[in-house]
């Protein structure tokens, strides 16, 4: 579905992503794991057209999308939910959702039905008229996800969706990601929480200083001693994981 071929991204001559290649197949959850500054967000931004790749190719559904402007990439079915959520605080919750749907809607805004929202995001359905600035961290993350889905993407790029959330809220977000996959949305996930991510993802790539140094199925990576000691602390992986 999505393939990166030797993708390089640099900012003002400093290389952030160095010939990274990866593949995401339809219906998969694929994760990119790496330390802060490893280039994870740069890969997502290159895919969604926020930054232009310096070298390499980005192939989505057989067509090259590298270097296309962001609004064209969204129209093709890839939506990124950025790190820090980037909710429009001065707009209402409903307007935040309408913004995302702007490409396929009518010129005159119309109120959306609440029933479809209530199924996945019950917390938001009753706050449609509230200013988004007043939402709690968990609600804001739910709104960011709901807003991403409004454009009906076939592929979601999630950048640190659990950042700054309590363990309980983070668990809700991960549960939601699982449900989105069940609905047929392919997901490329960047997360700090490696253990939880590997429990959720089908496959993962490990990114170090802009280079992909390791990739494999989540189970393989959980068994990899080097990865475990670098990213999960020195303790061995838990024998049974309730998330899977």
């Amino acid at each position: 579905m999505l393939e990166l071929r030797r993708l390089s991204v640099s900012y003002g001559g400093i290389l952030a992503v160095d010939e990274a290649s990866l593949e995401v197949r339809p219906g998969e959850i694929v994760s990119i794991i790496g330390a802060n500054g490893a280039g994870k967000t740069s890969i997502l931004n290159a895919i969604s057209g926020i930054v232009s790749p310096e070298k390499g190719e980005i192939i989505f559904e057989g067509e090259s999308i590298g270097g296309l402007p962001a609004h064209t990439v969204v129209a093709r079915g890839i939506v990124q939910v950025p790190e820090g959520r980037m909710i429009f605080g001065t707009l209402s919750v409903e307007e935040n959702l309408q913004v995302a749907a702007h490409q396929r809607g009518r010129f005159i805004l119309r109120r959306r039905s609440r029933s479809s929202l209530r199924r996945l995001f019950p917390a938001l359905a009753d706050k449609l008229d509230n200013p988004a600035a007043g939402l709690s961290g968990g609600e804001a993350q739910m709104l960011a996800l709901a807003r991403g889905l409004e454009s009906r993407p076939r592929m979601l790029l999630l950048d640190e969706p659990s950042l700054g959330l309590s363990p309980k809220l983070a668990e809700e977000v991960f549960g939601l990601i699982r449900r989105l996959r069940e609905q047929g949305i392919t997901i490329l996930l960047v997360e700090q929480n490696v253990r939880r991510t590997l429990a959720l993802a089908d496959r993962a790539y490990v990114l170090e200083s802009g280079r992909i140094t390791l990739h494999g199925s989540a189970a393989e990576l959980m068994a990899d001693e080097r990865l475990v000691s670098n990213y999960l602390g020195i303790s061995a992986p838990e024998p049974s994981n309730p998330d899977r």
């Binding site: 969604s48 057209g49 926020i50 402007p69 962001a70 609004h71 990439v73 969204v74 129209a75 939506v79 990124q80 939910v81 950025p82 959520r85 980037m86 909710i87 429009f88 605080g89 001065t90 707009l91 307007e95 309408q98 913004v99 995302a100 702007h102 490409q103 809607g105 009518r106 010129f107 005159i108 805004l109 988004a132 600035a133 007043g134 939402l135 804001a140 807003r147 454009s151």
Partner: protein
């Protein structure tokens, strides 16, 4: 007392045009976080093209009005392409300087078009007045107020009831987030320039009809009045732009009546100076700033 009310009403009528100019500056400031210094000159050149048609081809006043609006929009798009789209978003100072340079260019163009110092401007409404009780209303000033109210109403519907307005507000708040959501910020910005140029064209046409003459200095004048009204109301606030425009009009009308013509502009500058010292954010600016602070804290 009757004089006071009469002056206040006159001032609000004229101030409604200042409000339209201030809205033009405010919307571009909101979308671009930059001040378009050539906004007044854009309107001036648009009106010059209309006047040129009237002087050389004796077209009707309706054609002059429509040409003024259409060419103001085209000049506005030209300014956007040349000095805002072509210069990177981060280069704030460069585009401010270039908007000043374009101002000079537009003024040159107007002088080449019609080289004499002043020209009569063909008004759509005859200089008639009517009385309502003890008060006197001039037709062209009343139509100015009515036009401005229609424009502000239409703008409100556009901003708060349409997809384009929502996209414009989203880009104003956070251009990067808008890009993630698939909004074409470059297109929204271009449309915003066309929109404010149309509003500026209406304001310019109404003001020039009242003055019944046009000079190349109209660009400078319109930029000054619009900027002062915007800063009185508070940068980036639409209600502020309207309030600032009306306040400027009323203060000028009273200064003209009680102090004389030579104090009219001076009183406007003093008003702005006092506002900047006592309330630097303008009338509505403080509230906007605190709302943004709320947004940053919570989200």
């Amino acid at each position: 007392m009757i004089d006071f009310v009469q002056n206040t009403v006159d001032g609000m009528m004229f101030g409604s045009s200042y409000a339209l100019l201030a809205i033009g500056f405010t919307i571009i400031f909101g979308v671009m976080r930059r001040i378009n210094l050539s906004f007044g000159a854009t309107i001036m050149l648009g009106a010059y093209i209309g006047t040129w048609l009237h002087v050389h081809h004796q077209v009707s006043v309706w054609i002059v009005a429509l040409t003024t609006l259409a060419s103001t929009v085209l000049v506005g798009i030209y300014v956007e392409r040349l000095c805002f789209h072509a210069i990177r978003r981060s280069a704030v100072l460069a585009s401010m300087v270039s908007s000043f340079v374009i101002w000079m260019q537009l003024e040159e163009a107007a002088i080449h078009l019609l080289p004499e110092r002043t020209y009569a401007f063909p008004a759509l409404f005859a200089a008639v007045s009517f009385e309502l009780g003890p008060f006197l209303f001039r037709a062209e000033q009343t139509s100015m107020l009515v036009l401005a109210m229609i424009m502000v109403g239409a703008l409100h519907v556009l901003l708060y009831r349409t997809r384009f307005g929502l996209a414009l507000r989203a880009v104003s708040e956070n251009p990067l987030a808008a890009a993630y959501m698939g909004i074409n910020a470059a297109w929204v910005t271009l449309c915003a320039f066309a929109l404010v140029s149309l509003m500026g064209g209406v304001a310019g046409y109404a003001i020039l009809s009242t003055d019944a003459q046009i000079t190349p200095f109209f660009g400078l004048w319109a930029t000054f009045k619009g900027l002062i009204a915007m800063m009185l109301g508070g940068m980036g606030s639409l209600p502020g732009a309207i309030l600032g425009g009306l306040l400027l009009g009323v203060v000028e009308a009273h200064a003209l009546w009680y102090l004389g013509n030579e104090y009219k502009d001076l009183s406007a500058y003093l008003l702005l100076f006092g506002m900047l010292v006592l309330r630097p954010g303008g009338l509505m600016g403080q509230r906007i700033l605190s709302r943004e602070a709320l947004a940053f804290r919570r989200v």
